[in-house]
Amino acid sequence: MSEYWILAAILLPIFGGVLTLLIPFKNRKIMMCYLEIVMLTTSAIVWKLILNGTTEVFHIIHFVEDLSISFKIDSISMIFAGLVSLLWPLAVLYSFEYMEHEEREKIFFMFYSITYGITLGIAFASDLLSMYFFYELLTLSTVPLVLHTLKREAVLASRKYLYYSIGGAAFAMIGLVFVIIYGVTCEFQLGGVLDMALIGERKNLLLWVYLLAFMGFGVKAAIWPMGSWLPDAGVAPTPVTALLHAVAVVKAGVFAMIRLTYYSFGPSFLRGTWVQNVVMGFAMFTILYGCSMAVKETHLKRRLAYSTISNLSYIIFGITLMTPLGLAGALCHLICHAVMKINAFFCAGAFMQKTGKSYIYEMDGVGRKMPIVFGCFTVSALGLMGVPGLAGFISKWNLASAAVESMNVQAYFGIGCLLASALLTAIYMMNTVIHAFFPGKDFNYGTLAGVTDPSWKMCLPLLVFSISVAVLGIFSGPLVHFLREAAGV
């Protein structure tokens, strides 16, 4: 029975989204209720599935022999699906106020809703092929969202995004083919599915293939040097940047990397090989690269985008440890970063929408005028810096403990990168906060007349996220326990 619920969770937002365009709504309010109901129902179904526990594989379409589109729920699909299902309804709520002044909102909400279904598809896919299918769909459904404003830079950004993603997927495809040929099956199994007897002498070839596939998925996870589409894609409306470019799309890339590394090639096949050094090296470099660029950047949303690049590579670093603890740390940061970064982006969006400004140096004094928004922003900033008691500390703790535990000397330097990056994070985030709250002695608040906190539709998600950042930081026990079990520690 639960097989059909999976299908329902994926299809409901897709068809619900298409219907948004077709139904002639009387006014905005009704459309808002309709969409929110679709979102909440979908999330309810997802949570019902999660609470029911893991399921058997469910094939819906057979292509040939064992190639099929099929679904299954295992612990890490629960984590990813559970995460996006909590964020999506809140993000839609936020969008209602944000999109008020934008045109073509129906199209926007259609694709926004469709993307939800596709992301769930990635989470529930039970083998590399099905995941690849939804992965490509994700690219296609999000391009219109980046394009939304139809300005020149939006056109350029969406084109860049499209080329990068399709190119990356092509490399990932190579990995897919090799896993199908050399694997016992192409279904995901923790520990990998490669058939050692088949590989024989060709181990090095497989390692090269892994590298290509890893970097291919790395495009969406914005690993250096393939991450430059991400800051550019910040021209999209903030709900897109916040949810898709800090959580759904980029984390889909990371999720795919986890599936590739731990569920297809298998960490025991990769651990200790040259390819581990290479991918870990890329992750470490990206961590530093992302936050150095963030320090340099003065556009608020682009700064946050670079911060995302750096934080995604924290997760990738955890993955490349190739140990169960590393995976647990990576999953932990996947969740914590999602909440912190979506919060930061939403605050940035509220600031941009209320003041019409978008650069850090224009933020002087807004902290006093928008106390809720910048209070929440500060929570996110402190969380990203890794102040104990907030979510970022827990995930950093887990990642770094895993690195120490792995007894890999390169990973020790990785810890150094994490901490150096935390310091740079402090520089670029606290600098922003100080601008907002301490504008300098002779600042004239008259220039900010009329700027206030937004309505509850925007504030509620912010408060929910900020409180979650604190709760995750203080009561992390059960979550970490669950993640460790999922990672097979």
Partner: protein, 497 residues
């Protein structure tokens, strides 16, 4: 989980939570209708906290584990003798400087914010002194940094903002070095709870000593940032002087000591002194602290702005303490702990007198202070007594601690450092005299051609003078009757060495 009596544990928690919550409430409340109401509230907060803090001292071996942030990440408080000493100095100085602020902050704006953060930082410092494991210590260490930043950038001038940011980034840099150590300790130590003699797990450690030595060095360096140790000292002379004077006095007298306490906890209570004795870490640590002693004094000597000069002096004096700890020798450690106490009183007194001068005359440059002793005799006498104590002229307090430091160095068996240490300390003491005393000399003896007619009585009122007198007296009297304190410190030292 509670160790010892429940009542003691509750008092301990109250001493920590009350000022933090009270400060937060003051921050969140709308503006007070009158200044007196604000001061009344703050005064009550300070006194209640003071009483609670003193009550904790009376309790026996009490401890409480509040909850876990995660596996092994326990928030755990426990009182020990080392903590007691820190609690006493924090409480005395914090309350005195708080009352001093009542008058001093009149000429600054946004007092509510200042006092709110001032009270919260008080609670955080008490929590640091009571922290029973390194995780708790780290948590409150970060909180202390974040909460004291608003004190530094209070005046909101460009200079203050830059100073505040510099303070923040240097401190965080240090904190992250410490965090690096935590990750490794989490694996290689049997427990993260502070235990005299160290908690390293011998089995796991075997074969990984090289990595762990690097780690302990990072931790010393990291805590050393707060204590102004070379090469991460540069924030201190920028940040301390831009804060309002009472804030500079607690920053320079107490908050820097949190770095010292961190080093003590790390070296003597986690890694264990035997782990680093005779290794390159000890040598590097001694070298860095001696460089800092000398450099700080030199820089103070050529600095003309009074508060900056005092800040450089803090850099130098803190490294006396660090050097004493680095020797890993009983007498030296006694000297270091004595110097913690003495320097706290002395430096707060010095900063408060500098504040009194700024408040009354607006002068900041030492060259402008000719004749100041005639105008503010009580302030300058207090300044002079504190200066004599810092230089180490017997029987004032600084002499005692430096005596133990030198004696410890001579019998430490650390090669070249046995004689190099005392020599550097001596040279630095001369420089200390050179940079502190000119104010007294010029202040009281302005010279024959001085225009006495323009002098006026400018002594500040009792809110400012009494704290100053108390602190100056303490810095002298503790030197005359050092025995009870010395004996008490010896009991601490004997548990770890």
């Amino acid at each position: 989980m509670v160790i010892g009596s429940m009542n003691d544990a509750i008092i301990m928690l109250a001493a920590i939570c009350f000022p933090i919550l009270f400060g937060a409430v003051i921050l969140l409340m709308p503006e007070f209708s009158s200044r007196n109401r604000l001061l009344g509230a703050v005064g009550t907060g300070l006194l209640v906290t003071g009483i609670l803090a003193l009550l904790t001292l009376g309790s026996g071996e009490a401890g409480i584990c509040l909850f876990s942030l995660g596996e092994k990440l326990e928030i755990f408080f426990r009182l020990d003798n080392l903590g007691r000493i820190f609690i006493v100095i924090v409480t005395i100085i914090w309350i005195l400087a708080g009352f001093y602020s009542f008058e001093y902050m009149k000429h600054e704006k946004e007092e509510k914010r200042y006092f709110g953060f001032y009270l919260m930082t008080f609670g955080v410092l008490l929590a640091l002194d009571l922290a029973g494991n390194i995780v708790t210590y780290y948590l409150f260490y970060e909180m202390m940094t974040l909460l004291s930043v608003p004190l530094v950038l209070h005046s909101k001038t460009r200079e203050a903002l830059m100073g505040g940011l510099k303070y923040l980034f240097y401190s965080l840099c240090g904190a992250y070095m410490v965090l690096m150590g935590l990750f490794f300790l989490n694996r290689y130590a049997t427990t993260l709870t502070f235990t005299a003699g160290g908690t390293l797990n011998g089995e796991l450690t075997a074969g990984n000593e090289k990595v762990l030595l690097v780690v302990v060095f990072f931790m010393i360096l990291g805590f050393g940032v707060k204590a102004g140790m070379f090469p991460m000292h540069a924030w201190l002379p920028t940040a301390h002087p831009v804060a309002p004077a009472p804030a500079s006095s607690v920053l320079s007298g107490l908050i820097v000591k949190a770095g010292v306490l961190g080093v003590i906890r790390t070296v003597y209570f986690l890694f264990g002194e035997s782990f680093i004795r005779g290794t390159w870490v000890q040598t590097a640590w001694m070298t860095l602290s001696l460089i800092t002693v000398f450099m700080g004094s030199m820089l103070a000597y050529r600095e003309k702005i009074m508060k900056k000069r005092l800040a450089y002096s803090t850099v130098s004096q803190l490294s006396y303490i660090l050097f004493g700890l680095a020797l890993l020798q009983g007498e030296a450690m006694t000297g270091a702990l004595l110097h913690v106490v003495f320097h706290a009183f002395i430096k707060s007194a010095l900063f408060l007198s500098a504040g009194a001068i700024i408040y009354k005359t607006g002068r900041t440059n030492v060259d402008d202070m000719t004749g100041i002793g005639k105008e503010m005799p009580v302030t300058i006498w207090c300044y002079t007594f504190a200066s004599l104590a810092l230089i180490g002229i017997p029987p004032a307090s600084g002499f005692i601690s430096k005596w133990y430091l030198a004696e410890g160095a001579l019998s430490s068996g650390t090669g070249i450092f046995t004689w190099l240490g005392p020599v550097v300390l001596l040279v630095s003491a001369l420089l200390t005299a050179g940079y502190l005393l000119p104010i007294t000399i010029k202040g009281f003896l302005p010279g024959a051609d001085f225009d006495y007619g323009s002098l006026q009585k400018r002594e500040p009122n009792l809110w400012m003078v009494i704290p100053l007198i108390v602190l100056a007296l303490l810095s002298v009297v503790l030197g005359i009757f050092p025995n009870p304190l010395t004996e008490y410190i010896r009991t601490i030292v004997s548990t770890v060495l």
